[in-house]
Amino acid sequence: MANPLYQKHIISIPDFSRQEMELIVETAAELKSNPNPGLLQGKVIASCFFEASTRTRLSFETAIQRLGGSFIGFDNGANTSLAKKGETLADSVQVIASYVDAFVMRHPQEGAARLASEFSSVPVINAGDGSNQHPTQTLLDLFSIYECQKKLDGLNIAFVGDLKYGRTVHSLTQALSAFDCRFAFIAPDALGMPEYITDELDEKNIHHRRFDTIEEAVPEADIIYMTRVQKERFDETEFKHMAAKYILTLDTLKGARDNLKILHPLPRVDEIAVAVDKTPYAYYFEQAQNGVYAREALLALVLNEQI
């Protein structure tokens, strides 16, 4: 029987079942411990970045090559003749898809990947569509949580920082809500979790609460997921006064559980003190490395009936 992701488009986290997410996470773990350079042998994959995103692109292109595949594409759509000639995305996708076995794309507009999937003859993998979805980031986060906690079920997850605009936070919350996790949200009033996400949690009867400080959430937390509060969203004095509350230091972590791990989608600025890097709680660099394994797993599953 074919694996359930074979030849599927990978567009948005709510499209995934719990079983599919588990399959990706387990496959990523397997590929991390047993590299398999044959899984994309003979496959050509498009890596089309209509908007630049160096980290995500390098991670995808590494994953492709580690599995023995090759890629074509561009790192910034603005520099291509596609943009200059004013072709629709629908037309570009139809043509490029006809050359390749899968189509990895990043685009500055929301919905671009879903649209592409309607015009592509091969699976489309969303590497970020505007402020909407970035499913491979979520899958690498899930994999990192699974790796450091040995499970995904029943964990206490604290999200800190900008929970309003951070799409990684929204998608990860949606993903983890399939696993009976409990959530703590710590954010400035103006940057709280959007209502549509908390409504979804309420509908599923999932426990979530707000805290004023990180310290209050630390004793129960299995995972603290940090994000950056951007200066641009506040006036300067307001920012200075407020940002200090959302910085993680050694002091903040007093009373933490032994199994606590800290994640951050990176790049970090100063929201995690450098001193924290040396503690056993820091897991953000492993997390960044896991991006390659999560993307390997996804590509391998989409392009191999069985693995």
Partner: protein
């Protein structure tokens, strides 16, 4: 059905009745009925037993499908649609909330890919408390009905 006499009867076409008063104009505009170049008769602020006042629209030679009728449910909940052929009511639709609204209006998110590409807008419809939420298939953003009403 004494109300029928208030506006001239039509031989073949569609009668949209029991429109909440004040919504009739919006429906004319939204459904682009004028563009059809068919004869349209409208009644605004007609007396109604249940509504107090209602609007009513008759479009000659246009036979609404159920799908078209359902598009109206968003904007005129409670309206009824009678499809008439040779003075006989051939179909009668009570408005029910559609699961999907297609091509009825553009996505309110200006950065949504659907604006610049050869596709129709597509929203899934969900009743939430006292509001109706529309979620764009492409950008996955949800909008309250009141936002799209004013577009």
């Amino acid at each position: 059905m004494a109300n029928k006499l208030q506006v001239e009867a039509i031989k073949t076409g569609t009668v949209i009745d029991h429109i909440p008063a004040g919504q009739g104009m919006k429906i004319l505009k939204r459904m682009e009925l004028i563009k059809l170049k068919e004869k349209i008769t409208v009644g605004f602020n007609l007396p109604s037993k249940n509504l107090g006042m209602k609007d009513l629209i008759k479009v000659a030679n246009l036979l609404f499908t159920e799908e078209e009728a359902n598009q109206l449910a968003l904007f005129a909940p409670g309206a009824t649609i009678n499809v008439i052929e040779n003075y006989i009511i051939k179909d009668k639709f009570e408005m029910s909330l559609p699961d999907v609204v297609q091509a009825a209006f553009d996505c309110p998110n200006s950065n949504c890919i659907s604006h610049s590409e050869p596709v129709q807008s597509y929203f899934t419809v969900k009743q939430k408390n006292n509001d109706i939420q529309l979620k764009c298939k492409y950008c996955e953003k949800s909008f309250s009905k009141s936002i799209v009403e004013d577009l």
